[in-house]
């Protein structure tokens, strides 16, 4: 076993410029998302795709740099990033379910 209870990581000395650059990028991406909605960019599919893409990009920046996950040990990184992938399954189940409920409601309760 290499290394007894040594605690090496956790204090990475990144230059402050990295934080400021990420901070600026987060502002730019948020502003772009807001403008996409403000000008109602068409088609709506493209707008929603870009808003989703920007959201995941922002999330990646926050997790990688602000939360330092890029600089953690790979064991910790995978322990954190893999479990939330289960949510993809939840979403994949719930989206068709929602559409199904809407169809049934229209069929039996009337409505548009």
């Amino acid at each position: 076993m290499e290394g007894s209870p040594e605690i090496p990581r956790g204090e990475q000395h990144q230059p402050i410029g990295v934080y400021l650059a990420v901070w600026g990028l987060l502002f730019v991406l948020s502003a772009l998302s807001y403008l996409l909605d403000y000008f109602k960019v068409e088609p709506i599919g493209l707008r929603r795709f870009l808003i989703t893409a920007f959201a995941f990009l922002k999330a990646g920046l926050i997790v990688a740099y602000f939360m330092h996950l890029r600089f953690e040990r790979v064991g910790l990184v995978y322990a954190i990033l893999l479990p939330p992938l289960l949510l993809v399954a939840l979403v994949a189940i719930l989206l068709p379910e929602g559409q199904y409920v809407a169809t049934v409601r229209r069929l039996f309760l009337g409505g548009p």
Binding site: M1, G3, P5, E6, I7, R9, G10, E11, Q12, H13, Q14, I16, Y19, V22, W23, L26, F27, S30, S33, Y34, D37, R48, I51, T52, F54, A55, K58, A59, I62, V63, Y65, F66, M67, H68, E72, R73, V74, G75, L76, Y78, A79, I80, P83, P84, L86, L87, L90, V91, L94, L95, E97, G98, Q99, V101, A102, R105, R106, L109, G111, P112
Partner: protein
């Protein structure tokens, strides 16, 4: 990791090596590992809320109210869509930035700077919660939104909105209290005596997570 014949991908070999460390798989201070485990479980709560919101919205037969109109603010004569939400987003991103700088100063063990930026972060968080309180008041009192219905369309809007933003606002409120406690520990020299400022970094993880959740609420509830 001496079996050269096996030719595994590099990260698999590293993953196996680190997980087989028996007692200290992650080799970070326990507080950090515990905070990460809490945040992963919290991401499931918010992920489930967002997935539930998506299902409720898809199942709605009445038209979904346009968030741009619901959350519009009047600037003189003009109606600016989502203005308050945009300002709240700017405030929360700024607080994440000041938190990152607080952690940066904590690495360099600058007591005064760390406490200053922690207090600034808490102040921005408080601003965010205040604006959210204003938003809720406006929505409930002036526009007549309720968890079970509203005058602008699908009744599911209210329940999704109050649950998502309410739970997020609760996290911000808890975060402000947490940051104030950590700032007071910094000023009292607790971390100096312990020889480690990792407590500030752990608080930072929590705060950045709150910002992370807002990214998705902003994208999927307000802009979609």
């Amino acid at each position: 990791m001496e079996e050269k014949g096996l030719r595994q991908p590099r990260f698999l070999a590293r993953l196996a090596g680190e997980w087989s460390g028996d007692l200290a798989a992650f080799r970070v201070v326990w507080a950090k590992a515990m905070m990460w485990i809490f945040l992963v479980s919290d991401s499931f709560i918010f992920g489930s809320f967002l997935a539930g919101y998506a299902a409720a919205r898809l199942a709605a037969t009445e038209p979904w109210p346009d968030p741009g109109k619901v959350f519009a603010l009047h600037l003189g004569e003009r109606e600016v869509p989502l203005l308050l939400i945009a300002i709240m987003t700017v405030v929360l991103i700024s607080s994440s930035g000041t938190m990152a700088i607080a952690v940066y100063h904590a690495y360099h063990r600058r007591k005064g700077h760390t406490a200053l930026f922690l207090l600034l972060t808490a102040l921005l968080g408080l601003t965010f919660v205040s604006m959210q309180a204003f938003e809720w008041t406006h929505l409930i009192r002036d526009l007549g939104f309720r968890p079970w219905g509203n005058p602008m369309g699908a009744p599911q809007f209210g329940s999704s909105f109050f649950m998502l933003t309410g739970f997020h606002g609760l996290h911000v409120t808890a975060g402000v209290i947490y940051l104030l406690a950590v700032a007071s520990r910094v000023l009292k020299g607790v971390y100096d005596r312990a020889g480690s400022y990792v407590g500030v970094e752990v608080a930072g993880l929590y705060w950045h997570f709150v910002d992370l959740v807002w990214v998705f609420i902003f994208a999927f509830f307000y802009l979609f």
